[in-house]
């Protein structure tokens, strides 16, 4: 059927060329599948929502260098000034920026006392404008009141009585029943009680590589120190226009400090995932170039084998083989070689994956992906051999009669 027998016997006569192509296909498959898998993992990480209204948020830092500075009054003036600028939706002071990589973490425990189990959580210190500024969704309980907000001196160690936590944090504290977290008392610093008065849907921690990245808490604290950060939310589409305006207004209102680092949250996200993005692009390039190289290798070898077999092809044509049959011969030959390559490749891909998992922080491969890779390589092989096969089909029957 389909001359499989003759094709196979002809292949055996030039084993090395076929084996080389098969090996190349095998390696290509194993690299490709593992690379795509890594890309998928990273894309999933990058697609996680931060919970914020990212498109309309920016922040800046305020560094006070003057001595004897009225921190509290100045902070209130600043926030009043920012909120009064047309186009600004809301603003809050905040101690850390989600996704930025720098922040503050604490541990909450259900029972008071040293040595009790705690759950790590990212701390965001905000005022009653925090929820509206960040654009996070309050799904249970209530926001902080103005009267809840306390001043936190630079070296203070105590905590306010209330906190709003993310749903993921509630779930971590009360597995299977996150709703029950509302109204509960938890302990911070081993012994200090805090009551959960609200639950927000999503708010990511500043560290995108942390396994508890979804666990966060809002604390009604205003920081009193030399380094502050203001988070500002604008009306949709007006962020870029307002960034310099807010910076200028603040800088001119008070010369005893430096306003710097005006950054949009979108830039922070790009920075935060820069290495993920970069690696994904490099891997994509590797896959594309690798596939091209393999395809060109197939073309090159097929061309040579056809050149060597010109007379033989001519003879077949003279004996009545149609152009289509000649093409089919080379396409089938490639199919056989690819099958051998794919067979080795699947094993190699799994082996490589096992090794990668043992060396790097990676997860095991999904079978679906492997199957897709196999299909893609069959397609690449057939496409690559198409041009040489057509060349072969175009060989005139008369070639057989001419001496070389």
């Amino acid at each position: 059927m389909f001359e499989l027998g003759p094709i196979f016997r002809a292949l055996l006569r030039q084993k090395v060329g076929a084996v080389l192509i098969a090996l190349q296909i095998a390696l290509t498959l194993s690299i490709m599948v593992n690379a795509i898998f890594m890309m998928q993992n990273r894309s999933t990480l990058m697609a996680r929502p931060s919970g914020l209204d990212e498109a309309n948020l920016f922040y800046l830092s305020n560094t006070v260098f003057a001595q004897n500075y009225p921190h509290q009054a100045a902070l209130e003036d600043d926030l009043r000034l920012i909120r009064s600028i047309p186009g600004v939706v809301d603003a809050t002071q905040i101690n850390a920026i989600p996704l930025s990589g720098g922040g503050w973490s604490m541990s909450l425990q259900k029972k008071a006392g040293e040595g009790e189990d705690g759950t790590g959580v990212a701390v965001y210190m905000v005022d009653e404008h925090g929820i509206n500024t960040l654009g996070v969704e309050l799904i249970q309980g209530e926001n902080f009141q103005n009267t809840d907000i306390r001043w936190r001196a630079a070296s203070a160690v105590d905590w306010p009585e209330r906190t709003i936590i993310s749903q993921a944090m509630a779930e971590a504290l009360f597995p299977g029943n996150w709703q029950s977290a509302l109204g509960q008392t938890v302990y911070i610093n081993n012994n200090e009680p805090m009551q959960i008065t609200g639950i927000i849907k999503t708010l990511q921690a500043p560290w995108n590589g942390w396994d508890g990245v979804e666990r966060s808490m809002l604390v009604p604290y205003q920081l009193e120190g030399r380094n502050n950060r203001y988070m500002i939310r604008t009306e949709p589409g007006r962020r870029d226009e307002l960034m310099p305006i807010v910076e200028k207004a603040l800088a001119e209102s008070d010369k005893n400090r430096i306003i710097r680092g005006v950054t949009s949250l979108e830039e922070t996200r790009a920075d935060s995932y820069r290495s993920h993005n970069a690696l994904n692009r490099i891997l994509l390039l590797v896959i594309v170039v690798l596939t091209l190289i393999t395809a060109f290798g197939i073309v090159g070898l097929a061309m040579f084998s056809i050149n060597r077999r010109k007379r033989q092809i001519g003879t077949r044509r003279a004996l009545g083989a149609t152009q289509l049959q000649v093409m089919r011969y080379f396409m089938l030959e490639n199919l056989l070689i690819t099958s051998l390559g794919v067979l080795i490749g699947v094993a190699a891909a799994i082996g490589l994956n096992i090794w990668l998992v043992s060396q790097f922080e990676l997860k095991p491969l999904e079978p679906m992906l492997l199957l897709t890779g196999v299909v893609v390589l069959y397609l690449v092989g057939q496409l690559a051999v198409l041009y040489p096969a057509r060349k072969a089909a175009a060989i005139a029957p008369a070639t057989a009669t001419r001496s070389v």
């Binding site: 060329g17 260098f65 070296s155 160690v157 690696l279 490099i282 040579f304 790097f360």
Partner: protein, 436 residues
């Protein structure tokens, strides 16, 4: 003879330009990809202070929570508490010792028009400059007295000196920071160890700080620290309580000239911890560490995982390119069988044929190597573009890498040429000379 082989190789390459180009391209791409990633790895894992990396030791004490280790693998915390660091410094049991922390501060230049600006800084004890062989342009390090008396002295980086004093010798001048005047005692010459090994906790490839002040000044809360602070226990109200707390934020390096000094120092650390245990601290089992520079770089995983992952991928990529080249060379040489048969019949020995075809493979390899260098250079530009500042200084080709690239290209093309050449040389002349 080599000239003759080269001429033959050139003719042969010209006879099949498409195929030759394909081989050069394959080797070039493989070498380009491999060199890009090897360079990044090579620069990341470089020894920043080769002449004394085995005499500098990073100090770790396990002062952490009795109920939980500081790190999942059981390693002690990667920094020291202020009280332990200052106590170890005061004990002076090592040949040299330095304690340090990163700070950030605002410099207020003189003159009405100049605006205050933020600078990165480091608070460290006097030995810092001697231990890490910091080069000086003007002046030098401050004395130990400056440390103990909390003198307001400062060492500037070359770039900050440029900015503040136009690059002139500024020793003796004053710089205003956080409301106080600091006297310049030294200006560093350009110094940028990569990795910035003396403090990898705030980024192993960050720039060296712009100014350096005595560590003892941190006893007052005037200068703000901006490195990492980790606490397992609440610190208590107020700055003195914070200094006295179990929070770790100080780093310590010691210089120990030989194994016996190292052993003595480790014994001293253990004795210190035993002493502290009597005061109710250090409830964890004894777990003190002295890691030399390269051990510490490895412990802190300075070579990014992504970089080694990419290197593995690119070496496999090179392997595919080589398989490709073997296949193409084989096809090419075998198509020359009639010619080979003829030459053998005319008296060419196998050795000659072998040398000739290997020369051809080598020529293709060298051309591929050159292309690979170009591609590696482009690749490194691309890496810098994609990764931004974090790759600054880590994506530059140096002579070692250029030689390595050419060597790798030549070696791999010769290896790839071996089998096809051998096959070509085993051609039976009698068979080829018969009419086809």
């Amino acid at each position: 003879m080599l000239a003759y082989y080269l001429r033959l190789a050139l003719i042969s390459i010209r006879q099949s330009p498409g195929l030759s180009l394909l081989m050069v391209l394959a080797i070039g791409l493989g070498i380009g990809a491999a060199m890009t990633t090897v360079t990044v790895n090579y620069l990341m894992s470089a020894n920043p202070i080769p002449h004394k990396s085995e005499q500098l030791f990073y100090v770790q004490l396990d002062s952490w929570d009795p109920h939980q280790a500081a790190n999942e693998n059981g390693d002690p915390p990667d920094q020291l508490t202020y009280r332990d660091a200052t106590a170890l410094l005061a004990a002076k049991k090592a040949y040299r010792q330095v304690i340090q922390a990163q700070i950030g501060t605002v410099v207020e230049p003189e003159g009405k028009d100049s605006l205050p600006f933020q600078v990165s800084g480091r608070a460290n004890s006097a030995d810092f400059f001697a231990i890490f062989d910091v080069p000086f342009l003007y002046g030098g390090a401050w004395s130990e007295t400056a440390d103990s008396e909390q003198q307001h002295v400062v060492v500037l980086s070359q770039s900050l000196n440029e900015r503040l004093f136009g690059g002139k010798d500024s020793v003796g001048q004053k710089v205003k920071m956080a409301g106080d005047y600091y006297q310049v005692v030294g200006v560093m010459a350009n110094w940028q160890p990569r990795p910035r090994f003396y403090d990898v906790t705030t980024g192993a490839f960050n720039e060296v700080e712009e100014l350096f002040v005595p560590f003892s000044l941190l006893a007052e809360p005037k200068l703000s620290r901006n490195g990492n602070t980790n606490c397992w226990k609440p610190s208590g109200e107020g700055y003195p309580a914070f200094l006295n707390s179990e929070c770790v934020w100080t780093q310590m390096w010691v210089e120990l000239r030989n194994d016996s000094e190292k052993q003595q120092y480790l014994d001293f650390l253990n004795a210190y911890v035993e002493e502290q245990k009597k005061l109710g601290r250090f409830a964890r089992p004894l777990n003190n560490r002295l890691s030399d520079v390269m051990q510490w770089m490895e412990n802190q995983q300075v070579v990014a995982e992504d970089a080694s992952l990419m290197m593995v991928m690119s070496l496999m990529f090179l392997l595919v390119c080589l398989l490709n080249t073997i296949g193409l060379l084989l096809a090419k040489f075998l198509s020359k069988a009639p010619q080979i048969g003829l030459r053998q019949a005319l008296g060419a020995s196998r050795q000659h044929l072998f040398a000739q075809y290997l020369t051809e493979a080598g020529c293709i390899g060298l051309a591929g190597g050159l292309l690979g260098l170009l591609l590696a250079w482009l690749g490194l530009q691309g890496v810098t573009l994609l990764y931004g500042d974090s790759m600054k200084g880590l994506a530059e080709l140096d002579w070692v890498m250029v030689l390595l690239a050419m060597g790798l290209a030549l070696l791999s093309s010769l290896l790839a040429g071996l089998y096809p050449t051998w096959r070509a040389c085993t051609v039976q002349p009698s068979q080829q000379l018969k009419s086809q």
